[in-house]
């Protein structure tokens, strides 16, 4: 169904349920949907699983969500940053679960969910602790590990511009996880800096077609 343009971030995140798996775009602060995360904090859903490359910086955005204690589990590739004190404290206190995933497996598992791939074999991680307990197979003379899709109930994505059909463009390296997460979730909620008229984006340069987008808010 074509995307809905929402008036407020609160309207955009309405209905996110307790226990939801929430995909959150961004690499550090670049591409992080800060306003949607703040709206989710206000909205109140709890017992969440958050899938994101990092586990929050400083005290805002994802870190602020973690600080509410409403995130049960984080799935990410790089939780440890110089300013990741909120996650660090929760983790050391045993108050948050961590599934550490190599960044390429994180991206590819999200893509698999969006692309209808049931599972795939990759050499990344073979022979390391992050592949322990996983099925392996020799393919082309290399050990491969079987990895499963990561599907979100909801994706919170920051993009640069949207048109009224929900087509998206991003800006520079803030693109990062946005496109794969938009395709991997049941409901994809996008904050953009600017909403333009349908027809104002170059069809050759649209990165996320509107088919993947459910709600858009300017924030």
């Amino acid at each position: 169904m074509t995307a809905t343009i929402c008036a407020t971030a609160a309207e955009a995140v309405a209905g996110i349920e307790d226990g939801a798996v929430v995909l959150v775009s961004g690499f550090g602060m670049a591409g992080m949907p800060v306003e949607l995360i703040e709206a989710l904090i206000d909205q109140g859903a709890t017992d969440l699983t958050v899938v994101s490359n990092n586990a929050g910086n400083g005290d805002t955005g994802l870190a602020a969500l973690l600080a509410t204690g409403r995130v049960r589990k984080v799935v990410c590739s790089f939780p440890r940053q110089h300013d990741s004190w909120v996650f660090d404290g929760l983790y050391r206190a045993g108050r948050i679960e961590l599934e550490l995933v190599p960044q390429g497996n994180l991206a590819e598992r999200l893509r698999a969910a969006g692309a209808g791939i049931g599972a795939f074999f990759t050499p990344t991680g073979a022979g390391t602790p992050l592949a322990e307990g996983k099925e392996t197979r020799e393919l082309g003379g290399r050990t491969h590990v079987l990895e499963l899709p990561i599907r979100g109930d909801v994706a919170l994505v920051a993009a640069h511009r949207a048109d009224r059909m929900g087509n998206l463009v991003y800006r520079k390296t803030a693109r990062n996880f946005g496109p794969v997460m938009a395709a991997a979730a049941g409901t994809t909620i996008v904050q953009v800096r600017e909403l333009v008229d349908t027809g104002d984006l170059d069809p050759e340069a649209v990165v996320t077609p509107g088919i993947y987008v459910d709600r858009v808010v300017v924030a």
Binding site: M1, A115, E204
Partner: protein, 214 residues
């Protein structure tokens, strides 16, 4: 026993169009299903996908509009509507296979009582097989609608207990639009939704498939 005059292809296409919700993302298979586009209500906001890599495809191109770089899945020249986007084959099929299309409309040689679809190969020994995106659409779209005549030219039914032609997909068809009736394939069986120039009882007599009334 004979059936009355059924629906024309255009009438069948109109029925399918009626059942596509406004704002849906839809793929119309090559051949008959492309007629559905002509019957979508203006302003319905239905967005057409073409598997060769485009969303928001417009009508067939004519005259100066013809551009060899812009074709549909049937390799015919088409146009672009505002809000269109282009993407490569892996991205286009990710869209199809990942369950993002609300509806696809396909033709068929046969549909089985459990929703198996046969539409890519007659199995004739001298035929050159060609499958294209049929299996991906049948397997990936949220709803699979099939448009076909209910009976072959020799009078044999095309809604069958079990397909005899090679399968395109297993248990994938949701709705079947034919010239004499429309059907819903449900977990409980085949439901007759509407009949045209025939009756439920006549259909029961002609088909080897248990039929439920709506």
């Amino acid at each position: 026993m004979s059936l009355g005059a059924g629906l024309s292809k255009a009438e069948m296409a109109a029925l399918v169009a009626r059942d596509i919700a406004p704002g849906s993302y839809v793929n119309l298979g090559i051949g008959q299903p492309t007629l559905v586009a002509d019957h979508l209500a203006p302003g319905s906001g239905v967005v057409l996908h073409t598997e060769n890599g485009m969303l928001n495809m417009g009508p067939a191109a004519t005259g100066d509009q013809i551009d060899p770089d812009l074709t549909n899945a049937g390799k015919l020249p088409v146009t672009e509507l505002p809000g269109a986007s282009y993407f490569h084959q892996a991205d286009s099929f990710a869209m199809m296979r990942g369950g993002h299309l609300d509806v696809c409309v396909l033709g068929a040689f046969q549909v089985s009582a459990t929703g198996d679809l046969a539409n890519w190969h007659t199995g004739a020994p001298d035929a050159i097989p060609a499958v294209g995106g049929a299996m991906d659409l049948a397997t990936g779209a949220k709803s699979v609608f099939v448009m076909m005549t209910l009976f072959a030219k020799d009078g044999s039914p095309k809604l069958v207990p079990r397909c005899t032609y090679p399968l395109t997909g297993v248990g994938c068809v949701d709705r079947l639009y034919t010239d004499v009736a429309t059907f819903e394939i449900t977990p409980g069986g085949v439901v007759v939704r509407e009949t045209f120039g025939t009756s439920y009882d006549e259909l029961v007599g002609r088909l080897d498939v248990p039929l439920l009334r709506r």
